[in-house]
Symmetry: C2
Subunit: 305 residues, 2 copies
């Protein structure tokens, strides 16, 4: 009998080709489910749901396993290719220019949830089609604590389905560009209020990259958590999913978010994002330990004291 | 014999015509010296140095006096006109589109410092020509604690003089756009380090508007202080000078900045900026009390706890 993971996570698995001012890395391990799971693995047992083709390197599978990530939910499609994305951050370190997206096996992805995953206390929905996020929500059952992320693409192309997801999760995570687009508001405080009023999640976390994060609760705007100061941003791909991994890892260890612990949870997310961006792909997580993460959380606590 | 002010301040005095999404206000009281002095007046006695024409309304002079601002250093040029600026924030609440600048008396302004002002413990140099800032620095003497602000215009047009000012002050205040332009660096942490290394002030405070402030000390990057969440930004004109007024007012009450108090000083600056932007001109300061300011500082302290 398989062990129940702390967190069930669903998202993309990719081979990315990324160009930044620090160079180009080709066909490196990427995808929202990968960044999230690797990040959360320092604090929790993750059960990953995703799909790859048989071109997906064995070494990547081994790396994920070595981080204790449960891959029972990883589907490998024979004779098919893994999702590939290429992009660059030469103009703006905060926004990728996409060169090419080849969905491949991801185009027809249908998340299949292993039975033991369904018993996980916490669910993370990374950026997959909102209709698929909704399907996973329904299969996980009502007692599961659900956190979702999204991406700009779905705000335009699948808004009604995305709104249904927002109505059915405990915590919504978005970045500043996404929430401005979603609400058609330039003022983030107003944008946050509108999302809270419409969907009434327990918390809404707005990620602002180098400017840190804003937290909205049911009483309105609550917290502003600064970013960790980083001079060298080698590759920002996956920073948002790594942030979520830090937050959900914290939840796995400390319980659901509440007004007392939400700032600390966001600091774990902030710390994980700050490590991730120091290298291409998931290089920023190599040699990382929970002790180093906690040291950075402590530094973040002192930043605004 | 005149009383020695806590802070001597030099900067522009203006009649502004400002258009925002909340409307247009014509010929309203403005200028960096006005915003700064009004803001600082809640905590300190300010001696203002500036120039106006005889078109400058008596009511404005009375208003400044009623806030305890010493106007011995205010020069009124007969038969001449006050500096006028008009601009709008319709595209971007963080950056004004200037429609028209009429320097008038400000074009030939030569700051004349009353003798009692020269004995002030603290000097604030708002945005006037860096060569004039330098002249004031020299007249104030070496024991005075000096804080300067600047503006993008002088970064391009008077860089050598501006660098001399930076070498001769204790604290440099800049906004994010200015320091990026000045250092030609998009990364604010790196930009801050470069300014600290080159000019070695005691502190460098980088204002980021809605994203709060960064503080750099001689040991490197130190603090990130969040902004106060504000849904309704009626008019951001003068927010930076009001920020400085809060910081210098704090210094007047609590002594020079040090690693223990700098975050709190920045919170006073943040609070003053957040009140100011809720109205046109200095309307956001009407009915304000030190008790209300301290309440907001307390709220800011809790924002990132």
């Amino acid at each position: 009998m398989s062990k129940i993971p702390d967190i069930t996570a669903v998202g993309s698995m990719a081979l990315d080709t990324v160009t930044t001012h620090y160079g180009t890395h080709e066909n490196c391990l990427g995808g929202s489910a990968v960044y999230f799971s690797m990040s959360a693995s320092f604090q929790a047992k993750v059960g990953l749901i995703g799909v790859v083709g048989d071109d997906f390197p064995k070494a990547h599978v081994e790396l994920l396993k070595n981080h204790g990530i449960d891959l029972d939910g990883l589907e490998v499609v024979k004779g098919a290719k893994t999702f590939r994305w290429s992009g660059s951050y030469l103009n703006d370190v905060n926004a990728a220019d996409t060169h090419c997206t080849m969905l491949n096996v991801f185009a027809t992805f249908e998340p299949k949830i292993p039975e033991n995953y369904k018993k996980a206390k916490t669910l993370f929905l990374a950026n997959i089609l909102p209709s698929l996020q909704m399907k996973v929500i329904e299969e996980m059952g009502p007692d599961c604590y659900k956190v979702c992320d999204t991406m700009n693409f779905y705000i335009n192309s699948a808004r009604p389905e995305l709104e249904r997801v927002f109505e059915n999760v405990n915590v919504i995570v978005m970045n500043d560009g996404e929430i401005k687009m979603f609400t058609d508001q330039a003022n983030l405080i107003r944008a946050g209020r509108l999302v809270m009023e419409k969907f009434y999640p327990e918390y809404l976390i707005v990620k602002k990259g180098e400017h840190g994060s804003l937290v909205f609760g049911r009483g309105g705007f609550m917290k502003a958590i600064p970013a960790f100061p980083t001079e060298k941003v080698v590759d920002p791909t996956g920073a948002g999913d790594s942030f979520a991994g830090g937050v959900l890892g914290f939840i796995a260890r400390n319980g659901r978010l509440n007004n007392e612990n939400v700032a600390e949870a966001v600091r774990y997310g902030t710390a994980m994002g700050s490590f991730l961006v120091t290298g291409f792909s998931i290089d920023g997580f190599m040699d990382l330990t929970l002790a180093k993460i906690e040291e950075r959380v402590e530094a973040l606590r002192n930043l605004s004291k």
